[in-house]
Symmetry: D2
Subunit: 486 residues, 4 copies
């Protein structure tokens, strides 16, 4: 049986060597440390969902490699329907965890990015990358690993390319080819869910030019590989995760985002899927993004659904009917369904790749991303607007004050409104958590900046064709060249 | 062969008896009169497309009734793919005509609205409506008719229901049942493309309550049926269609919208598809809208594509590069693809009806409508912004002044910029036509007001489910009932 | 007495020689011709307002040149309060005419643009321009002329400067200096209200560089000066102004916008206010815009007020309470008050110029313009949304059909809703007129494109100062230079 | 001399008895405790500004009571110019502290709210409230106190009025009138800056109806009065204020918001300004809001200025030119100037009250509030968008990891971009602090919900007048009554 139980999953994490740090200290057991355990509880729900008949159809699928039931996060989608199920699964996971489970999600997209890419590399270059990837994936499915994905390099000075940086390590790069593998150095920054993962799939983080071949690398490593130091980033109100009480209200979901510092890490060849083929780095990136940006629409919609629920909850605990807020809630629903529709359309208008993978429509994948950047922010305002002042900034006394033997009874007396004081306080903390607190995921820049998405929308739109329509309708024959200026 | 040529189509219109009026006068030949001929030229392009290998796959399909190739406008979509092709066909038709070809489009949606509805009526009530509809449709396909659709009643005082109106004719209604058919009276207002149609498919225009049974009627009539008077509505700058020159720049597409005045019109029973079954009027309306609102996404995107082309054309004829406007054009593309994605998603997440019809997702059909209302308006600003002052209001001298023997040479001298003066003048008229002129279609209210679409989005969203997610995540068990107030 | 009656004003126009054309024909009497008479009726209301105690305080002021009561359109504002009254007067004029009365407004702003500019020219260059302007203005006040203003050149290819155009006439320019005056050639395009004006104040339409001195010219001419040909531009549905009935519903206000074609026109020196001083062309333009863009906020708000009224009127004639649309109407009010507030703030934060003129704040003048471009468009959507389908495109039968002996009774029967049919039809035509018809003024580009306003907002904002605040707060001392790239 | 030094101010706070709690514990010295000291440092800058010639004109004014120079926060504005200076002072204070200094600001507005109200009460009721207020204010000016203001009651179930609450304490109310004063009970929630204040000015928090007289109370108390328990609310990432390092980057400004729990607090009559006069509670609230909402425009613009600086700082530390973000920054400037213009216009169009106070325009005060709710949120997106992933959520390692002897050198190596690593890290923390961190003020609901502001905009707009304009223009005479339905 390829599917792990939540407990088996946690046990697999406990076996890894400690190489994760936060607040200057080592995290010995990620499943127990307050900085990481919520994220792992969130990911554990994916494993539980795979074994739950209610969710099985979304959370798992039959592997075309092994014909066994495997996690959908570890299976390359082969049809539009497959991809729609991925999007729905992601919407579901936000319902269940309230936030991002990037420790399986990004890794899954990395597989989708490299599957058609390595196929074409092997076809055109005679390499064996696709073979490596196939073999590794078969094992990954069998052991049902949680797989993080790492794309984003440190990047240094943004106005200069990889090869123009003062410090050549600003993009992760090949240091040495050995007989049995390669050595790499550099950093991957703002990487999601690593603490909850067994392995990390590394992709090239940019498009490279001639002479930058050492940056065009892709491979998979165990999370605890020698030479890798992982430093968890902060996030808003993160220390609440170490506190007692309800101020960090969600215990079954959480974010971890880390900086991965590679100090001459060795990777054996059978785990290397690209090494110097700069002409394929762009394809890898494109295929990753087409997969990632599309299904992210499910995440954003799922987050939005929880926001709708949290806002309605606050309205009621304030003593108000949700009908008062019909118009605002409708705006929120429209936001959610817009980004989800873009995702569904991107898969529906996609096409089959010779490698077997389904490639979503690039224009609409980037349309989805354009909304992924803006929808959570727009929804945040709606939730805070509906919820009132105590949720806007979580502007209510701490859980400790709520239960204070001295003044707790007063705090409770005055917090009571449309429900018990405790329920109202928890609801307010939930709205805070979702909109300005621990649970907020980084959707503006996740998968690249919104500007890149807009550039891609433009690149995949055929303006000359549309000019042709207008000219024909207006009865214009004259050839009107583009001005060279301005 | 079921498909008409453009000329055969026009000939079929010329055979109809004259019952259309504009400016107080009868229109004797709709294919020649300036108020209607552009609309008919637009519809003629649909017939041409059906015979053109380049467009055949979108414009036609194989009838499941006859196994013959028929117009897609006359075939009930049976799969998501069918409906996607309808949406793409509508996008195409805007590319070719620049505006609405409602004289086939709305009728097609009316068929889609009544197909599953009559199926269920026959199943539940033992009626023969579906049989009537099937027989009529088979003939309609064979003679390749252009079929308008009429939904919107005069409605009278909006704050009162049909049965509360002072004048009972404010909603079209049954006057008498005879042995061979029914007699109806009332009006259908703002009906698109009637002048370009051979027949008109009438649907109930509202949801009716007990005692309003006479209003729940559906049937098809020839456009020139006895007792029907058709008065064409005005539209902006419509008299330019009677002028010489380029001030009404588009001659191969045009809008006609009419008021249909039924004075005791007789309809034989084999053309009647509902007569008094109020409990099915809502279903008819819903099924019509699910079809209409979804595929309208193709219309709006197609209009937007032509707007992109027209704006770019103006930029160039002004002497500027379109690169200057990259950001604005990208906003326009995003608008177009958003509404189109919503349509694609609405079809993809639809489901099969026992009658064979594909029923699009109601939530997303209404999401599409929400964008259909706003996108053309948003795009209008972008086009006028990019195009500059002469296109904002068409603020340039008339075609007559352009060619004036007295001062035409001066007008031409000063209109020259990045192209010939004539091309720039035509491009400006095209931008005007699209945004504030003859070509503007009524997308805000077409298919119902945006508020209705928003209400439907709300009705099809399960807020209680989302509240459940938030409560589970926040660890709240308390039952919090909706306030009865506010 | 310096103030004309409406009839004296019209009489003064009738005395001018005919040099205005539309549709290829000469307009012999502008006060009677359908293309111009509505505009003149609108302007006549300004004259009436000056003699009406209710409006006197806004429409007139005491001249600091003559100590007599003169039109506020002909008096340089000397305090913030003066300018606020100008803005309020413009809001009032939209209430009274429903549209633009540019035949006094732009001329007034031209005076304001040249008053401080000529003052500084005389101070720095020893010229006598301010003396000329003062003398001319004294006479203009005494004869209470309507004064149009002309800024915008034909401009030719937008990617090239005046001196780079193939045809040197693309910007109006000096042809010859004679003993008693100058000769000019070129065109001014999209000039508002000329048909309603006695004289035209010409300003340089751009910033010029070394060697383009011949383009830096400013002067005043009578509207009917020798060598000037005026061609009226079209506007939406303009031919309705020649029709009987209510399809062009407003008869006491109207737009005229013209192209002014100068063929070697002679201007005597006492009417010349700039001739070759390129270093002052930018100042003239800036001073004009600071005045024009600010008080335009009154126009846009006044238009918006009428739109609120028209939308509410439609709601009621449809049988609905305006309460249904409270939220949409509130958005409309907010739009109106935003642009008006920007104008009020621009005057309040302005400063006194040594010439006596009050110079509004440049940053906020451009803020006002940014809203002037977008607010009318946003309001248009709200009006059409509230009004329903018959107003969106004026989609109801023509006035001729409404009164048709044959079918008029039916049209009237079915148009009746919350008022008489005639009132509802007129209200729908009014909403159409305001939003997509004859009355729509060109606010997107009037006073320059919105992009220029945005660039000016940026130019007048001190980003380095704000960076300093952020650095101080974050405890950052390091000097961080701007990247030279990107 | 009426003006305190920063040190004298802090000393005055240290003298107060401890009655403030956070995290269940008492705060003994508010000037030293991490939860409150930053807020006090911020307020101390107001005192410093009053003694600084650069800021003196904004931060102080001449008292019309004493003819001495006093804090502008303790002086009733008597002209539009006075109020504009208040708005500019508030913009300045955000520049200096980065956040809210409500411990003087709200109190100042409370004075402005009660000054004209007590004047009218004394005139109409023969009370001595205005006398009390005048006397108290004279002393307050002389001792230069920091004065918080408390408006918002606990409110309980929002769908019920004060008298309908199960617990009568849900709105602060009179318990008993004694010979020398009154006893009050209840709570004021989400009260800003109390920890930084010497005294607290209490206002009625709602409009009350017949029989709710006990809720119509206003008075001033010392912050440490017997029977008052103050519990500080949490705010995002608040525990960082107790940490070392740069993760809470701003030390010279900070937010404190508290819940004030009044347990039978005694207030002597000379400090009572309303007691039971329900018909004046609405006036008090209105006068407070007109003052508060208007000048808040300065706060929001000042916050926006700092956001512009922080975003530009991040762009540069990332190695990018701010030119890349010209368009986004311009949107941010427009947001800032819009809310500021609304404030300036609200003062300019205000009027003089017989009490001497200047009353801002109510319509435009609420317009300002409408923007105060939305502008900070809109700006937040722009800052996070420009700043990139590390600022969106502060997604970089902690200060402790930055300086870790083990891996700090790696963190620093990879954080370096367009500046030193430390500067970039601090800039990222600053952007986080401003947008999703400790510094975020509660502008959505501060001064009431945005919905209330919108309702007030509607209430102060004369729709019937605007309908009149439309009817006149359209030539409609018929009287069209509002439908009673819908």
């Amino acid at each position: 049986m390829a599917l792990k139980t939540p407990e088996e999953y946690k046990e697999s994490l406990r076996k890894l060597a400690p190489n994760i740090y936060k607040f200057g200290e080592s995290i010995e057991d990620v499943t127990a440390h307050p900085a990481t355990k919520r994220s792992i509880e969130g990911h554990a729900q994916i494993f539980a969902a795979g074994l739950n008949p209610q969710y099985e159809d979304l959370a798992t699928t039959i592997s075309s490699l092994t014909r066994e039931r495997v996690s959908r996060y570890l299976a390359v989608p082969e049809t539009a329907e497959d991809t729609i199920k991925v999007a729905k699964m992601k919407r579901l996971m936000f319902h269940l965890t309230g936030t991002c489970t990037g420790g399986r999600c990004v890794g899954g997209n990395a597989i989708n990015g490299m599957w058609p890419t390595t196929y074409e590399m092997d076809q055109k270059l005679g390499t064996k990358y696709h073979q490596h990837l196939t073999k590794w994936l078969r094992n990954a499915q069998a052991s049902d690993i949680a797989l993080a994905g790492a794309l984003n390099d440190a990047k240094g000075n943004r106005s200069k390319p990889a090869s123009g940086q003062e410090d050549p390590d600003m993009y992760l790069h090949l240091v040495e080819k050995r007989g049995d593998g390669i050595v790499v150095r550099g950093a991957k920054a703002i990487i999601c869910g690593v603490a909850a993962a067994n392995e990390i799939f590394v992709l090239p983080g940019a498009v490279f030019r001639e002479g930058e071949n050492d940056y065009a690398i892709s491979f998979v490593v165990p999370r605890d590989i020698d030479g890798l130091t992982i430093v968890e980033a902060r996030h808003p109100s993160d220390t609440r995760e170490s506190e007692e009480g309800f101020d960090a209200p969600v215990t079954i979901g959480g974010i971890s985002q880390a900086w991965l510092l590679f100090q001459d890490v060795f990777v054996p060849y059978e785990r290397v899927f690209m090494c110097g083929e700069i002409e394929f780095a762009a394809m890898a990136l494109t295929n990753f993004l087409t997969s990632y940006l599309t299904t992210q629409g499910g995440c954003v919609a799922g987050l939005g659904d929880v926001m709708a629920g949290a806002a309605a909850l606050m309205a009621r605990t304030n003593g108000l009917s949700t009908r008062v807020f019909n118009d605002k809630l409708t705006n929120l629903y429209i936001n959610n369904e817009t980004v989800f529709s873009a995702a569904i359309a991107a898969t529906t208008l996609g096409k089959k790749h010779p490698s077997g993978a389904w490639i979503n429509d690039m224009l609409l994948a980037n349309l989805t991303k354009a909304y992924s950047s803006t929808v959570p922010h727009a929804n945040t305002y709606i939730v805070q607007d509906i919820s009132g002042g105590i949720a806007e900034l979580g502007c209510l006394p701490s859980s400790k004050d709520f239960y204070s033997p001295k003044h707790g009874h007063l705090v409770q007396k005055y917090l009571k409104a449309g429900s018990s004081a405790e329920t109202r306080a928890k609801a307010a903390r939930m709205a805070e958590w979702l909109t300005i607190g621990v649970g907020v995921p980084g959707f503006i820049h996740g998968g690249g900046s919104p500007d890149i998405a807009r550039r891609m929308v433009r690149a995949y739109t055929n303006l000359e064709e549309y000019i042709g329509y207008a000219k024909r309708l207006a009865g214009i024959d004259e050839d009107i060249p583009e001005s060279t200026k301005g």
